[in-house]
């Protein structure tokens, strides 16, 4: 009988034990190659963002994280990734973000890189569109939610107001009900209570190694770089990075691509996304408001991370296409008040390196479509990034963050009333 039982269950048992051994082992499985890094750097893949292995290696090599959302995928010839390749920048941007990623997703991903960014640099593109009254949409956060990064958070985050706030937000925005222990641990963090022994052992010795090995094994598969767009861009750029010439190229490309509509929107985008509803959109955005949002507090979590790890950050605030805004009724005054508020949050805490383009929305061929940077807009970014990214090591930084920016008061205060905020 035992022989037959062994014949039936033996293979399953052996396979199961091998799998468990593999997942729980302390081995590092599969180090990403140079090629993988360069593919991942422009892939904007959710798996790369949700993982750790590839990013950690990339930030130790010559990649600088460029954090943002949908604009990163607008890869024309003047996009920083193309420029960095063409003119052999010492350090290349590692794009992190996709439509739907906002501050909280980026915070979770940043904190999980732990000390790999200590004393290094980062670029953050702040979309005003993140700062809508309801903040990040739960389904969007859920889509980019990484249990792996959460295990890092649960093990490493020290109790503080921002840790408690972060845990609360993650609990609010995720729907994962299958893992009770992780959820309970998050609840403890949210209340400032240390994790229990069971939680610690389970998360540290079972959950995290399992997820880590899955990340090491699988997140390198199925990523697609944007070689085609890169190649196309490399071809049209001049041999030497002469600003006059570059501006000329940007203008020509923009002119050709935005010929069929009065807004300066790329033709393909206009045909597909705008034209079908163009009448409905007139005056449709007059009530849009980016001044009061939980996003301001989520954003503060990123700033806290940068301060703790002494990261030098280049912030970029892109504008909205002015002709489009005029048509949809989106208020430039409101955008200016948003700008004032976010600049206050940055500068009062010592984050002074900001490219503010809020009022550049009227420039020709600056935007690729309605809210996304294009040709001449990217060029302006490039001109600031190129010197910033020359070195990977940050000079000494002096940040003095405060928990006030996590408060409900700060989330709600309008750009005109920040003077009353203390």
């Amino acid at each position: 009988m035992f022989k037959r039982l062994w014949q039936i269950f033996g293979p399953v048992l052996v396979a199961g034990l091998c799998l468990i051994a593999l997942l729980l082992s302390p081995l590092q499985l599969g180090r990403p190659s140079e090629k993988t890094l360069s593919t991942a750097a422009t892939s904007l893949s959710a798996n790369v963002l949700k993982g750790e292995a590839i990013k950690d290696v990339a930030f130790n090599a010559n990649y600088i994280p460029m954090i943002g959302s949908s604009e990163l995928s607008r890869m024309d010839a003047l996009h920083p990734s193309v420029m960095a390749n063409k003119y052999n920048w010492q350090n290349k941007p590692f794009l992190l973000g996709a439509p739907g990623t906002q501050s909280l997703t980026h915070f979770l991903s940043l904190q999980a890189t732990g000390n790999h960014l200590n004393g290094k640099k980062a670029v953050v593109v702040i979309s005003p569109q993140w700062f809508v009254p309801q903040g990040v949409k739960p389904e969007m956060f859920d889509f980019f939610y990484s249990p792996l990064q959460t295990t890092y958070f649960l093990i490493h985050a020290k109790d503080s107001e921002s840790t408690r706030y972060a845990a609360k937000r993650i609990l609010e925005l995720t729907s994962d009900t299958t893992n009770g222990i992780m959820r309970d641990a998050l609840k403890n963090k949210a209340l400032g209570i240390p994790l229990t022994k069971t939680q610690k052992v389970y998360i540290n010795n079972v959950k995290r190694p399992t997820l880590q090995h899955q990340d090491q094994l699988f997140s390198q598969l199925f990523i697609r770089g944007r070689e085609q767009e890169l190649r196309k861009g490399l071809k049209v750029l001049p041999r030497r990075p002469d600003n006059m010439r570059l501006d000329q190229v940007a203008t020509e490309l923009g002119q050709k691509a935005t010929s069929d509509n009065p807004f300066g929107i790329q033709n393909s985008f206009y045909e597909k996304r705008v034209k079908p509803n163009v009448d409905k959109l007139k005056g449709e955005q007059s009530h849009f408001n980016y001044e009061s949002s939980p996003e301001f507090a989520d954003f503060q979590l990123m700033l806290d991370y940068f301060a703790e790890h002494k990261v030098a950050v280049q912030f970029i605030i892109p504008p909205v296409n002015a002709r489009w805004a005029a048509y949809t009724g989106l208020s430039q005054a409101m955008l200016n008040r948003f700008d004032k508020k976010i600049q206050y949050q940055l500068k009062t805490q010592g984050f002074n390196n900001i490219v503010d383009m809020t009022n550049d929305g009227g420039e020709q061929f600056f935007m690729q479509d309605t809210i996304h940077l294009g040709w001449r807009g990217w060029l302006k970014v490039d001109q600031r990034l190129q010197p910033f990214m020359k070195t990977k090591k940050a000079k000494a930084v002096h940040y003095h963050t405060t928990n006030d920016f996590l408060s409900r008061d700060w989330q709600n205060v309008s750009g005109d009333n920040i003077d009353e905020f203390d």
């Binding site: 009988m1 039982l5 014949q7 039936i8 269950f9 399953v12 009900t177 299958t178 009770g180």
Partner: protein, 402 residues
């Protein structure tokens, strides 16, 4: 307690494996521990119906009590009398909860009846089957304990396969001899592994990875004749593959779990896409459902029509049977135009197939029939089945009317 839907994630299989271990040891040693078995069933029922599903759990308890009382009552009555009208009444009462559950969202879109729970259709098949066999005299007395075990047999509770009371009872009351049980365990492991490939690899590939893409493509290229596009053709095949691998995978798990418990639940799929015609297809696709309809609807209707001499035309009788069977099956799936069209489609198709088979028989000498015509038949049947699944999917409703 966490809420775990049947066969949905690795945790479920882990808990299942641990919980069944003592049963395996018992059965290998010639013992069936009914009490332990019942506790395991109870645990899994609670896992399915706890948390935010607790309303369904209550509905399930109410349902089983109602059907139990009904069948009990009918059995007691049947021991003395046998009136047709009372039999009819018992059947109507037995399907009433299901009818209500199907009608509420139809009359009141967006809402669901409080009587509903996961698996109500499958339990209804079981109870109606019991009433019919009681009328036939095959089931002579009501055994409350066995009735509960049969109805609430947890491996098959949510989506079948649909077992029969007398078959289940036989397995439940005996201990399989060791060699036979070892065979069952071997088959169970095989079914579990194949099920993993079906449901979690192929089903995932077709359902989660590809289906949204082709759906998007089809929606984006609307506008032509009947909105037909390559995207729609893609949707038809991708959905058909998804439907098969997801459901066949689930059925393999249910059968495998039953085998481990020493109960030989009938299989549900037998290479359906290799069928050379639609009649054969229904002998291989969702078999326990089509056999249930064959035995309890089709055969009984044919018998009724012949006995009362309503018509002597055998072809007509068969066709009426098909029409009734498939229309009922359509209604059972839900009260929407596409389920009913799906039923009609299959009824007409099977009637036409009969016409062809009779023609072929008569002109045997002149019709070529070899390996290649058989492949051609399989190919044609497969594609027509996929077309019917496109109707069944409800995607056309979205494509045309929303």
């Amino acid at each position: 307690m966490p809420n775990l839907q049947p066969y949905a994630n690795p945790n479920y299989f882990l808990i299942l494996g641990v919980a069944l271990m003592p049963l395996v040891i018992g059965l290998l040693n010639g013992k069936r521990w009914h009490i332990y078995e019942t506790l395991v069933s109870l645990l899994f029922l609670i896992l399915i119906f706890d948390g935010d599903k607790v309303h369904q759990g209550i509905a399930l308890i109410g349902y089983v009590l109602f059907e139990g009382a009904l069948i009990w009552g009918y059995t007691v009555y049947r021991q003395k009398h046998n009136h047709t009208w009372l039999f009819d009444l018992a059947v109507i009462l037995a399907i009433m909860p299901l009818v209500i559950v199907k009608f509420v969202p139809f009359l009141n879109p967006g809402s669901n009846s409080i009587l509903g729970f996961l698996g109500i259709s499958y339990l209804t098949f079981k109870s109606v089957g019991m009433i019919m066999e009681t009328r036939d005299g095959s089931i002579k007395k009501f055994e409350p304990w066995l009735f509960l075990q049969f109805m609430l047999f947890f491996p098959t509770i949510s989506s079948g396969p649909i077992d029969r009371y007398r078959r289940f009872k036989k397995d439940y009351l005996k201990v399989p001899d060791r060699d036979h049980y070892l065979d069952l365990l071997g088959k169970a492991v095989h079914n579990f592994m194949l099920g993993f490939v079906y449901k979690f690899m192929l089903g995932y590939l077709f359902g989660t990875v590809l289906l949204p893409k082709v759906a998007h493509l089809a929606m984006a290229s609307r506008g032509g004749f009947l909105d037909i596009s390559w995207g729609l053709v893609g949707y038809m095949y991708v959905y058909s593959m998804y439907l098969f691998f997801d459901f066949a995978g689930y059925s393999l798990f249910a059968v495998a779990t039953s085998y481990v418990m020493g109960v030989e639940t009938p299989i549900n799929f037998n290479k359906p896409f290799a069928s050379p015609n639609i009649k054969e297809f229904w002998n291989r696709w969702h078999m326990t459902l089509s056999f249930w309809f064959r035995d309890y609807i089709y055969m009984r209707l044919v018998f009724f029509l012949m006995k009362h001499k309503i018509t002597k035309n055998k072809v007509l009788i068969a066709n009426l049977g098909y029409l009734t069977l498939f229309l009922l099956m359509g209604f059972w799936h839900g009260l929407t135009w596409y389920y009913i069209v799906y039923g009609l489609f299959h009824a007409i198709w099977i009637i036409l197939t009969d016409v062809w088979l009779r023609f072929k028989k008569k002109h045997k000498a002149h019709i070529i029939s070899n390996r290649w015509t058989n492949y051609l038949a399989i190919f044609a049947t497969f594609n027509t089945v996929c077309l019917s699944f496109l109707i069944f999917s409800g995607f056309l409703d979205r494509l045309w009317f929303h």
